[in-house]
Symmetry: C2
Amino acid sequence: MKILELRLANFRNHKKLILNLDYEIVLLTGANGAGKTNILEAVYALSTGKSIKAKYDRDMINYTARFTTAGADIENSSGKYLLEMQVIKEPDASNISSKKTKVNKVPKSLVSFSGIFNSVMFSPEDLNIITGSPSERRKYMDAILVQTDKNYKRNTSAYLKAVRQRNKILEKIAEENRGRDEIGYWTKKCLEHGTYIQEQREKLFDYFNKKLPETVEKLNGKDTAVEIKYLMNEISEERLKKHEEHEVHAKTTLVGPHRDDFCIFHNKHNLSEFGSRGEQRSVMLALKLCEINYIEQENDERPVLLLDDIFSELDENHRSSVFNILEQQQTIITSTEPPDFLSTKSNTHEIKVL
Amino acid sequence: MKILELRLANFRNHKKLILNLDYEIVLLTGANGAGKTNILEAVYALSTGKSIKAKYDRDMINYTARFTTAGADIENSSGKYLLEMQVIKEPDASNISSKKTKVNKVPKSLVSFSGIFNSVMFSPEDLNIITGSPSERRKYMDAILVQTDKNYKRNTSAYLKAVRQRNKILEKIAEENRGRDEIGYWTKKCLEHGTYIQEQREKLFDYFNKKLPETVEKLNGKDTAVEIKYLMNEISEERLKKHEEHEVHAKTTLVGPHRDDFCIFHNKHNLSEFGSRGEQRSVMLALKLCEINYIEQENDERPVLLLDDIFSELDENHRSSVFNILEQQQTIITSTEPPDFLSTKSNTHEIKVL
């Protein structure tokens, strides 16, 4: 898996940028605010169809422009592809925008677009996956699974739509005492797509649970009890029936993958509440390494690794763990100055972002 | 302002710890999870009466214990004090705990306790002040103002109580159409305390607005347009009257300092949404430097500076800015290993945390 050339127009601060990235290790250097992270954001968006940091797609568009385009020549085991994504502002002042995706110049749905090119991003904000809200953790699971399973994306879209419709009907039942005949259809839809989503998540967590403890141990050089627990809010006919009256009262669907979460235990205690920052960082790094391996296992090739400004955060041990896997896939690194230790890697190509 | 000796019992992972901190610069080193941050948390709690990171006070208590004590000998311009804080678990499984504070062995209210000893903490999580929710930014304003103004703490407690009572009555009006006669009393209370809070916050932001741009400029060595804007949800009779019907409908108080926020503009754009991580870090560092100076201006002495694991995050320029102010007050620094640049400071005392 490789990105060969990246072309941006009106993407964040980059009015026009063409970068040849066809190297094993690419180092992007430049001052604060030069737009290094924005380049990684564009590369990541070409693999998932989504920004990793923007709340709204339109935030990716340069202030002065009406639309942005990110395009790339990429290569995977089945050949070369030309990927293009365009985000267009709607003329009003709202946060609405539309998105077009093309593969080899042919318009494709987001489902067909995402997953052709795979990437894993690692940045200091990743600690929020551990310390943030459940919705951040769900976003994290989804970002992995859309890259390994075409049907996952399809099922999540259909599921979220079904939940929205079902909630409207629950509200109608609660407030006007009508609509009980309509709810069955959407409950069935929720069950069908929700079950699929939870099966895939379960598979991912089985993998994490097998691999995470040994990865943490290898990183820290000592035995640490680490357990990652998938907190599945299981969707089933029985549970939906059991909660139906509560759902009417709450006017919202209480059961299903949109309420899933996961929790990491570190020496028997919740890492999010009781782990030190250093412990959280080292588990997060281990989780990311497992993530790369999971995507490789599922897709039979390694995703491109995007390292955003992380070396300063890591101590000696963790730094060398990352250093050791740099050449196992194409890696793009951002940093204000070239890190010392990279000077020993002859296959590093530096690009100055101005 | 100085902390001379710190004594902890069952504080987080420290079952029993006595540390002589009577040096200009104290460097706390140790492995991940040794409890370096926990020591700073205890020092900070002795100045504000609150944990800087725990959601509940009882999270500070060691798992195995029923209560924790943090005590310190401190010195400020009016003499030496013995401060003690105790948090006691309630026997049930809830998150309730009680807190006792003493000054020179005499029980004192939290209001009299906090502010005798002042400290400013700087840690990587501070970026959340910029990127997090409004409640994090209100917590930040409050943490500064309780240290410079005794009445501020009193007013915030009274204000929050008044809002809670007022919300209950709003709910009663909405659901049972009664209680309109009771609401006037709590509205008056909200107005009285709310106005005081907003006056103090305004004063703080006047100071920030004067000092922040030049501090950022000095840090970055170039002219940057930075503006910090206090988004006051102004409490006044007129605005309360205007929103009364909305408040009944929403069953909650919509006007007042509990809905304040602030926003930082960087080159005319919202730093939180559009600033790069490097830009956010450098503004955050500048804001912290202003914070120290504000506390010094108000209290006529400099607070103790607590630097939690931050040097790895800063680039060369920012590091030297912090380095230059290290000796202007007592400074306590945590780090996994002694940072190189500190070796030139002869007045640094290293304590290994095991």
